[in-house]
Amino acid sequence: MTTTAFARDQWYVAAYSQEVGDALLARTVLGEPLVLYRTGAGGVVALADRCVHRRFPLSLSHRDGDRIVCGYHGFTYDPGGTCVAVPGQTRIPRTARVPSFPIAEQDSLVWVWIGDPGRADPAAIPRAPWLDAPGWTTVRGMEPLAARYGLLVDNLLDLSHETYLHGGYIGTPEVAQTPITTEVDEDAGVVHVQRRMKDVECPPFYAKSTGIAGRIDRWQDIEYHPPCLYLLHSRIAPTDVEPGPDGDDSGACHAEIAYAITPETETTTLDFWMVARDFALDDENVSQYLAESNRAVVLQDVVALNALERVIAAEPDGYQELSINIDTGGLAARRLLAKLIGR
């Protein structure tokens, strides 16, 4: 079973803050074509990307101050989506408006609410403060997936695949060999998967970026906030360097890996990936290495998940998967997603 339906009445990452500026940015989220831009006052606007007149994409149009002027016949919309001018006549039809979508900008991410606007509560958006905080340096990117978002959820909740798909970057034999602990906080709607590796090989991704030579203790603590935000708290330290009794963990390196899993259509996904670190903060070579390496890892996932999507599209109904211990967290994530969809 894989998840194909959408969970509406939820917040989704539509873009990085740095992507939204004066230009008109087209993004599709849960099958809703959106146009995004930033007003003169600095706020982000998201409108339906379709002129009410003859459906022309507003993202292919141009701006007049904070307004969008349709590039086909000049219908002009304010940031709330109300049409304020039409060509050749003074009367503006009462129905001349495009839907606007609630937006919240937080931790360098632009979140859009897809669903009933009256239920949009920005306080419900999960946090990832290190993406935009002093003491951290972040590299990021976005890769489109020709695969349903549920496949990316499965992928990220079971990191044993690192051993087989991402050898040479982040995969080592111990990842697949180390037992996991899974917890589900039912009220918060969060899945936690913890893998603590002791005295293991350091993969190139961390050896080259942290400079740690030799064996390491490696922690992978996953926190998945369905439907969109996935956080991997990664701790890398020379073997036997433990956090102090006061919680001081300055002897270790920390990488906060985040993914925003945004369904674009039923069978395509926006895969936003971010790597924040608390080491080598100003080292441009490390930034470049981590950006290139993580993108390479994501592209390996893209190839694998796109292939899986083609397999699923061609298979007969009722195919039965097999799940083993490593799937404990993925099964929990699927259940919480199903709960959100059924709400």
Binding site: P179, I180, T181, T182, E183, V184, D185, E186, D187, A188, S323, I324, N325, D327, T328, L331, A332, R335
Partner: protein
Amino acid sequence: MSATRYRIAWTPGSDSLVGTCHCGAEHTADDPVRMWQWLLAHPDHPGDRHELGIVRDDTGAYR
């Protein structure tokens, strides 16, 4: 453990999963699908809770 938390620990060196419900009931299995079914059956966990000596208290929670 929080009042709403389910936990499944994979016992190192084995294929066994140990599930702990927020009511305190525990179960051992070697299949995650069956383990989740058992946990999510709360408060009516099937099978071995009596063998484990787990009983309901006055609030209905297993102790």
